[in-house]
């Protein structure tokens, strides 16, 4: 009955690889997001998707590409991983002016 789920929970990979993180929400929300939390615990919005359309891209490198196959899913693809991509990535969803619900996070470590 988890509201927002992400897989995998941990991801360890080499520089230069391509990886994906999956996110699913069962709340029926229209808007989904990806946030990045860096090593200093700073949280920043990366992407926002509303009804399968990208509405915000906050100066994120184009190696990062969100893909939304349907309203309940927003996956994050990362190409040519770099050391600086190491962070915790949080997926979230919301509906209209309601609160945002966050996933458990995916801890990405790039070696």
């Amino acid at each position: 009955d988890t509201a927002v789920s992400q897989t995998p929970k941990y991801l360890v990979t080499q520089m230069g690889n391509d990886k994906s993180i999956k996110c699913e929400q069962n709340l029926g929300h229209d808007t989904m997001y990806w946030y990045k939390q860096d090593s200093k615990k700073f949280l920043k919005i990366m992407f926002s998707y509303n009804n399968k359309e990208l509405i915000i891209n906050e100066t994120v490198p184009n190696r990062f590409s969100p893909k939304s196959p349907d309203k309940a899913h927003l996956n994050l693809h990362i190409n040519s991983l770099e050391l600086g991509d190491s962070a915790v990535y949080f997926c979230a969803s919301s509906q209209d002016r309601g609160q945002s619900f966050f996933g458990p996070g995916t801890r990405l470590t790039v070696l």
Partner: protein, 107 residues
């Protein structure tokens, strides 16, 4: 320009002491402000939103438009309050977070 400022990276108090986590914002319209909490290695959870004006886990936060502040307060801290606290401003549908304040409550 930073829209949400949390001036303290770390706030350390003893159990039973009052707590105030500061948050100031910069926004030209009517702000929507939130406090989120992240316990150790857990997901972010909504703690408070200014429109609800309620008390959750003994915490309250009042929006002061004159001072552009939304400080989080609790009269008597508990050890289980130890966590990372984020103040957030909602613009359109996305949240802009402050840098967070780590609250440590010692026995």
């Amino acid at each position: 320009a930073q829209r949400v400022t949390q001036p303290e990276k770390l706030l350390s108090v003893f159990k039973g002491a009052p707590v105030e986590l500061k948050c100031n914002y910069s926004y030209s319209g009517s702000p929507e402000l939130f406090w989120y909490v992240q316990y150790s290695r857990q997901r972010l959870q909504l703690l408070l939103r200014h429109i609800s004006r309620e008390s959750i886990k003994g915490f309250t936060a009042d929006l002061n438009k004159g001072e552009t502040s939304f400080h989080l307060k609790k009269p008597f801290a508990q050890e289980e309050d130890s966590a990372m606290y984020y103040c957030a401003l909602r613009e359109y549908s996305t949240l802009t977070f402050g840098k967070g304040t780590m609250l440590l409550v010692s026995p």
